[in-house]
């Protein structure tokens, strides 16, 4: 186990009925529990049946719930989301799996012009309780289109909810909350963390999926991130602590709605904020967080909000992803840069 995941696992040791499982298994369990709880819940996606999905997230579900409820679809992402919309119109709660982030774009039209808008378009008459599971992010050494982080493209679309778990406990409960939401929810699953083990408490729900959570308290600077980078941020905070910097780590968890109050509250306290994500910083979601925190906490900030993220380029060949993706050092560099402003500008 790496230092970063060890640091992360420590966060979840105080739960009452602990069950150790990897993040992918936690989602599998959440899907099974929702399929059991509500006969209107269906799963549809590519290779989710006999194979159990390319990441095995739906492993054995078809054997348990049958091919009518765990539906292998033709290889057509627009068709998957379009048919989920029709199912939702008829009262079902479909859960779509899009195989990889880079393959969501054939469905982009159905998601943004239809799924996101139908409740609004019909003056509330036709809700769209559709969940889209979307494995995202890099660091898996794969080929093109398998490592992207498209959250900003969806965040900009009113009508969608977007959440992203960073640990198995959240993965279990966020998946269940997403399926139970009356709105369309995109669950961005951090695919490089599918094998991350953690403690899942099946009896005690995680905090509301649409809120941010402070994972590590600190006083000198706030580091806000989400999904795959949360363990990296916790590890960076650990290193910084050894250097005498007290870093508060926030797991943003929900992209839309954004719990900007929680982040601004922390930034106002520490007076510094660094936002990190794998997606390119240019036009990225970190800019939204930076703008909102600047508006809310301007007079309390000792430094501008800084961003750590990917570069303005297509996701590079994965032979170069170690240099492209934010890591502990890139986070530490930004944290330090945040202090430079304070010493030069004074408070």
């Amino acid at each position: 186990m790496s230092a970063e995941s060890a640091a992360h696992t420590e966060q979840k040791e105080s739960v009452s009925t602990p069950t150790q499982m990897p993040l992918a298994k936690a989602i599998n369990r959440a899907l099974a529990d929702e399929l059991t709880a509500d006969p209107k819940t269906l799963l549809i996606g590519e290779d989710i049946g006999a194979l159990g999905g390319v990441f095995r997230v739906t492993d054995k579900l078809q054997a348990e719930f049958g091919p009518d409820r765990i539906i292998d679809s033709p290889l057509a992402e627009s068709g998957i989301i379009g048919s989920c919309i029709g199912l939702a119109m008829r009262g079902y709660r479909p859960v779509a799996e899009i195989q990889f982030d880079g393959f969501v774009f054939p469905a982009f039209n159905q998601i943004t012009t239809q799924l996101a808008k139908i409740h609004n378009r019909t003056d509330g008459a036709v809700p769209m309780p559709v969940t889209i599971r979307l494995p995202y992010g890099g660091h898996i050494g794969s080929i093109e289109h398998h490592s992207e982080s498209p959250e900003a493209l969806f965040a900009h679309t009113a009508g969608l909810r977007i959440v992203t778990p960073s640990n198995p406990h959240d993965a279990y409960w966020m998946t269940r909350q997403a399926i139970n939401s009356t709105d369309p929810v995109i669950v961005l699953e951090p695919k490089r963390r599918y094998w991350l083990k953690g403690t899942v408490d099946l009896d005690t729900p995680a905090p509301d999926a649409f809120t941010a959570q402070v994972l590590r308290k600190g006083t000198d600077v706030t580091l806000a991130t989400y999904g795959p980078l949360v363990p990296v941020a916790l590890a960076a905070a650990e290193v910084a602590a050894g250097q005498g910097r007290s870093v508060e780590v926030i797991d943003v968890r929900s992209i839309s709605p954004l719990d900007d109050e929680a982040i601004a509250r922390s930034a106002a306290k520490t007076q510094r904020l660094v936002v990190a994500h794998e997606a390119p910083t240019f036009g990225g979601f970190g800019a939204e967080i930076a703008a909102r925190v600047s508006e809310r906490a301007y007079h309390r900030l000792a430094a501008p909000v800084l961003r750590v993220g990917g570069f303005h380029m297509p996701y590079p060949p994965s032979g170069q992803e170690q240099r492209y993706l934010p890591d502990i050092d890139r986070m530490l560099e930004a944290l330090e840069r945040s202090f430079v402003y304070a010493s030069e500008g004074g408070r």
């Binding site: 033709p74 379009g82 029709g86 199912l87 119109m89 039209n109 239809q114 003056d123 008459a125 839309s256």
Partner: protein, 379 residues
């Protein structure tokens, strides 16, 4: 997996342009059940829709509508198809299915919400079992597939709700232009793979704004069905009886579990694509004249009169009713009010969303500020 025969490229026709009737070995029987009242009903509905349509164009010209999408010339295709369905069958329309919408009872002020730009969808789709108009081409035919998957699942699990039926089918409307969309293809793949009761009803009106149907397809559109493994038929879409009969023929098999089918109704858009369009720039007067002679209402009326099903007095009553409908439309359009922006905020999500709530509250405060300034100025 067996092959499917290609549709006859010559459209099925019962009523010729001049109103003469020819028996068809397969399709005649489907109109045998139509009595005088039902036959007059088809006529009445086509006349009403045409009057409604021309009135709407006038209203747009007078600045009362943001846009109008005329269905002029397509009255028979739409009326024949919708009349052949059961009210339990869900319809997924494009944005031009006015005859179908009116047939299902959608009110003028509801239909016009979109065109007066007071609402996006002016009716509750569940009330009329008729979905909202879909503006993004072919997106709706994927939704039709999902609805049909739901029918299948309802039947399999014994979860049919009251008012629903085991043998429901779904009407998925699209035009010749929309058949080029990827969603049209994906929809037909899904419907075929899962054996879903989706009836694709393509109104081939020959023009996708300014682009002729030959640019969309080099084969009859009905032939595409065979590639997916289901039956397709070409029908004269300006022949209300043939369209009714072919739709019934398809529906009958589908209710017995035959899976998806496709009807290509060959018709013509007599008007512009929308009121923002000028068809004289891309199509000839000669072509228009040819299609004027194929007018769906004129030929049907000729036949009805020859059969003594329609007399002059009844025809006049229908015209009077059409004039009333036009008047109702005009009145409705003048009194329509836009959905308030507050309501738009409230329906972005079904459940509370922090950013929407904050922005709604901000707008309220911001506008209240102007009201206060106004009071100060008044004093």
């Amino acid at each position: 997996m067996s092959g499917v025969e290609l549709a006859d490229p010559v459209p099925v026709q019962l009523l010729a342009e001049d109103g003469t009737f020819t028996e068809h070995p397969t399709f005649s029987r489907f109109i045998e059940g139509l009595d005088g009242e039902a036959l007059r009903g088809l006529y009445r509905h086509m006349v009403l829709e045409r009057r409604f349509d021309t009135e709407a164009t006038s209203l747009q010209r007078q600045g009362m509508l943001a846009l109008w999408v005329p269905a002029l010339g397509q009255e028979a295709a739409q009326t024949g198809a919708i009349a052949a369905l059961d009210s339990k069958d869900r319809v997924f329309p494009t944005y031009r299915e006015h005859a179908m919408a009116l047939y299902r009872g959608i009110k003028p002020e509801e239909l016009m919400g979109m065109f007066r730009a007071t609402r996006h969808t002016g009716w509750n789709p569940h009330t009329y079992n008729f979905n909202g108009y879909s503006v993004v081409l072919a997106s709706q035919v994927m939704h039709a597939v999902g609805w049909a998957m739901g029918i299948k699942q309802d039947v399999a699990t014994g979860a049919l709700k009251e008012g629903r039926a085991e043998n429901e089918i779904v009407l998925a409307c699209l035009g010749d232009g929309a058949t080029s969309q990827g969603d049209a293809h994906e929809s037909m793949v899904f419907a075929s793979s899962y054996g879903l009761p989706v009836l694709y009803f393509i109104q081939n009106n020959h023009w996708a704004i300014s682009v002729p149907q030959q640019t969309q397809s080099r084969t009859p559109l009905a032939h595409r069905a065979a590639g997916y493994g289901f039956e397709g038929i070409r029908v004269d879409g300006n022949d209300v009886l043939a369209t009714y009969a072919v739709t019934q023929y398809m529906a009958e098999q589908m209710r017995a579990g035959a899976g998806p089918k496709l009807v290509e109704a060959v018709t013509y858009r007599m008007g512009a694509h929308t009121t923002a369009d000028d068809p004289t720039k891309y199509r000839s007067q000669d072509e228009l004249e040819v299609w004027k002679r194929r007018d769906p209402i004129a030929r049907y009326r000729t036949w009805l009169e020859a059969q003594s099903v329609l007399d002059a007095e009844t025809a006049q009553e229908v015209d009077q009713e059409a004039a009333e409908l036009a008047k109702d439309l005009r009145t409705a359009v003048h009194s329509m009010e836009s959905v308030p922006l507050e309501r738009v905020f409230d329906t972005v999500y079904a459940e509370p969303h922090r950013q929407v709530e904050v922005e709604k509250a901000w707008l309220k405060d911001y506008e209240a500020g102007f009201a206060e300034e106004g009071r100060v100025a008044d004093q």
